[in-house]
Symmetry: C2
Subunit: 601 residues, 2 copies
């Protein structure tokens, strides 16, 4: 069975040494509660909870899956009890507002906990995970009454939430939805329609489920401008706010899927279910994006958690498994063979996992700081800057960390050879679970269009400049440091090229809009590598500065990993840059019919 | 359920138009039987058999898996009947020698059929698939008596074969095996030990199973120089050659795995089983490589088959699914949205699948021709040249086609979005099935060491030069053709760089052997891209020449795909070249202990 230890030392490096979270928390309104002692205690307890409670249920949950019987869904054995402990431990309310029963700690802390949950049991983590987005949507767009009825329960964790967007004929293109909302005359609506792929749509972990549902009003305009958001509880709250009458929303069936077997992926039927409008009519898409952006960062963290879990177990195997001698001569002559970690290609795979996981952690925590600032900073200009950067980085966190997350979990399988393919070892489950992260809450292609089209080009490159200027300043400040030259020089070059490539695509897109889509995914991956290069350079600077104490091994390993990233992963930007420049013609010339001429008769 | 049509038109292009198989068969001893009419009839019948018989059992086999009861394994429903039809159709004997009951057709023909089998039902295909390697080992190294007893039955298909190499503590490092062979005094041996990961080790498709087993003689030297090969039948042949006494070899358990559920992956226990030495004592590794090389090419073909299957189904979905409008304006205004094949990024994914599948087919058929020549060419020098090239390309076929096969099947999932993750659509099964191909018969890392270490550097680069000279000649011959400039120029440059990179690594390796392992996988991937670039340039030349007839759409699509390969996939060589040059230090500096300092307490 795979093991897992929360990377507490690495988190301390990223949070305390690299990104100065103690100072960040100290100046954050409400952040003063998050003293270093409190933070360390929370992380240690999170590490214990996830390792002792969630990890043992990961493989069994995968094997068992969920069961639908008489309209009720049973989660795998132990999931309900683990959720009870989670609620009792006060985890759901960690970073929620005190006015709704939350503990008011910074959001960034919740994101750290998220990584541990995803690393130990992604399928379980999705039951409480979806509640965050639902709560956020209600907090920002709900009426006071809705907040009182639903938000407090979600914060407490006794109820969970869902996001009901996708329908059989549409996922990305929500303008096509058919679910209808008809006013009942008493201020409520009757919601009717079918939603699919609803994670945690029905289950036995909590006493009630709060669905946030996109539907169309009778007089709604066509397309995405005619979508409204509704809250539709499984049980309608009674006069005391407890679950009362059963509402007309039921689980029609469960999907059989490649991974996350322990999570119930439901077809949800709304049959004149009673719902309540959230936010203004026909403005549902904007409300939905409140949930969606939270969820997207959450999915990026899933990628991170899975790579760390896969890395730790591949490392243990590589140290243990004896096979062949080192090419340069036996390392452990007394043993029948050397442990495979002596082989350069095994190290290449492990370092790929390590560099992506640790770099991913820096990216997540860098983004987490922005989330805190957007929510709580007193200065409007600072808030605005944080919001712009967060908007820019959200698709990168979501898509880049899940793309490399899938690669890294696959390297974990590869380190184990044939054993990696066998269920018992648990390595292939990380791959199957990771596969969904490239798809849900918007595929990589959708994130890439959001990044290049909406975030970068629609702002005339201004949003990107906010970030490249920060990198530029960092490079300038460190330009004279010979110990950092190996990082700063290539970083400065890439940072400049990032802007040039953007200009080039922008110019082409003025003549042909398809150029945006043609360059988008390579642009996103390129952006991810440059972003991680910036963060790895900062990590190297920090490690360099800390050498000479009694943790030299840690800082040297950090520097080695930074070097590996620069020498062995960053060259991929050479390919992506060329592909960004390749242009739309290489994709658009062939006709849809002619694609199949090799096999169609 | 996924559909599949054998790519007969594309095969005609590759075999007849591009690689001139009709002339190849005409001059091949025994090849005269393979007239164009016969070849076409065989391919058409293979297309029918695989689509009508094997394809419908692919998803059900995956769901059902194999069952072990009372030591007997039941394959999924329908598998046995399909195998009966396969034997009745004479497929097992297609390219086997007439002296052993074979039809004597060229091996290359069997390889084409293999692609169709892997595309429609990989798990099923592995039951007869392993027989080829076993038959080859017996043909090359078996005694006349062994040939009479076992080979004829394998050729006929009434018995199947296995390769029993791996043990719990060793896979790659076969020098460590513990299975023992003790002489019985009557010329036979008692084989005792445990083998794992034995594909088709036990099943109900055939009346007997012929295991080829690596074991150690009592006086065997240490390590890989002390391995011998034995044939161990499940039932010992009686006086009439029919299955007689049950031998002491049994299936201890079945592995639960990520994919190929329909194939029985067995733990095989040899308990003083009666076995017979194949080839000379202690020379088992050489005999084993006879099987292994056949099997490795077979695995490359698995990668090819799976990408083609995934491509065809992703294409069908992309033409059908309506979602969003084209960025440059609606293409099908009458419909609620445009089919997703209008979106450039969807096209990028489809073209990636198409370019790898069609390019992979060219590589397989180029290699298939070499297999024919090695087996049958009358001219010793020509045979030797073919053997050297085949040795060079075998690890490329195996590892490159399975690496890009995994990527391409994943692109297939990605085209379907969330639906790709759902079992019912069948796209995720291609990914799970493809995952094993990067592992078995030697992982990608093992193939890469074979390529760079054994094939390229041990021959002082001479073997590689055989191939780069051929590419060089092709480039020189076409240098003046302006219509081919976009292919020939980059190809010539890459071809030269291939030699330079080899020299560079070779020089470094003289000082530090670890440089070979450090560069190996990137070198293999680089080699794969250049090889496909050569073949795509030849395809472009052929297509260019054929324009102006009534199949212009086909040839234009071929040219478009060649362009896509050059503009959108070949740039990856820029990354691999840099990583080849990165050197061993980027991997070897960090100590095995320090890898885990971020999480280990």
């Amino acid at each position: 069975m795979p093991d897992y230890q929360a990377p507490l030392r690495d988190l301390r490096f990223v949070m305390d040494e690299m990104l100065d979270f103690p100072a960040h928390y100290a100046r954050l309104p409400g952040g003063e509660e998050a003293s270093p002692d409190v933070v360390n205690a929370i992380l240690a307890e999170g590490a214990r909870f996830t390792r002792e409670v969630l990890l043992p249920l990961n493989q069994s949950g995968d094997r068992e899956g969920c069961l639908l019987e008489g309209g009720e869904v049973k989660a795998p054995k132990g999931f309900k009890e683990a959720y009870r402990q989670y609620v009792e431990g006060g985890w759901p309310s960690l970073s929620a507002e005190p006015e709704f029963g939350g503990q008011g700690l910074p959001h960034s802390l919740g994101m750290v906990l998220s990584e541990m949950i995803c690393a130990t049991n992604l399928a379980w983590g999705m039951y409480p995970g979806l509640s965050h987005g639902a709560a956020d949507a209600l907090r920002h767009h709900g009426s006071d009454e809705q907040k009182a009825s639903y938000l407090t329960k979600l914060v407490e964790g006794v109820w969970t939430g869902t996001m009901c967007l996708t329908e059989p004929h549409c996922g990305t293109d929500l303008g096509l939805i058919k679910t209808r909302a008809v006013p009942t005359g008493d201020g409520a609506y009757e919601i009717s329609g079918t939603k699919i792929f609803i994670s945690a749509g029905e289950h036995d972990l909590a006493e009630n489920i709060v669905h946030l549902v996109l539907a169309k009003l009778p007089d709604a305009p066509e397309g995405s401008k005619g979508i409204s958001l509704f809250v539709v509880p499984k049980f309608l709250p009674d006069a005391d706010g407890n679950p009362g009458e059963r509402n007309g929303v039921t689980c029609g069936s469960l999907e059989h899927k490649m991974g996350i077997h322990g999570n119930a992926t439901c077809v949800m039927n709304f049959d004149a279910a009673r719902g309540f409008l959230v936010g203004p009519p026909n403005k549902g898409l904007a409300c939905m994006f409140t949930m969606m952006n939270v969820a997207r960062i959450g999915v990026g963290i899933q990628g991170l958690g899975l790579m760390e879990a896969s890395f730790q177990n591949a490392l243990a195997y590589a140290r243990d498994r004896l096979q062949m001698r080192a090419l340069s001569g036996a390392r452990e002559p007394a043993k029948p063979a050397d442990p495979i970690i002596v082989h350069p290609d095994v190290r290449r795979m492990l370092l790929t996992q390590k560099a992506f996981a640790e770099g991913g952690r820096m990216l997540v925590m860098y983004t987490a700081k922005l989330v805190d600032l957007v929510e709580h900073d007193q200065d409007a200009a600072e808030r605005e800057r944080a919001e712009a950067l967060l908007g820019l980085l959200t698709p990168v966190v979501k898509a880049f960390l899940t793309e490399v997350g899938f690669e890294a979990t696959n390297e974990g399988v590869q380190v184990l050879g044939g054993h990696g393919f066998i269920r018992e070892w648990g390595m292939e489950q990380f791959v199957r679970d990771a596969r969904i992260t490239r798809l849900y809450e918007g595929t990589t292609g959708v994130q890439a269009l959001d990044l290049l089209g909406r975030k970068v080009l629609m702002s005339q490159g201004e949003t990107l400049k906010l970030f490249t200027k920060e990198i530029h300043k960092f490079c300038q400040a460190k330009a004279g440091d010979p110990a950092l030259k190996e990082f700063i020089e290539p970083l400065a070059k890439l940072n400049a090229e990032w802007g040039e490539l953007t200009m080039e695509v922008g110019m082409k897109a003025m003549h042909d809009r398809e150029e945006v889509g043609a360059a988008s995914v390579d642009f996103l991956m390129y952006s991810g590598y440059v972003t991680l290069a910036y963060l790895w350079a900062r990590a190297a600077k920090q490690a360099q500065r800390s050498l000479g104490g009694d943790e030299d091994a840690f800082y040297k390993a950090k520097l080695d990993t930074a070097r590996f990233f620069y020498q062995r992963l960053l060259p991929r930007t050479r390919a992506h840059a060329q592909m960004i420049q390749a242009g739309a013609a290489s994709l658009m010339t062939i006709s849809a019919e002619d694609f199949g001429l090799g096999f169609e008769i």
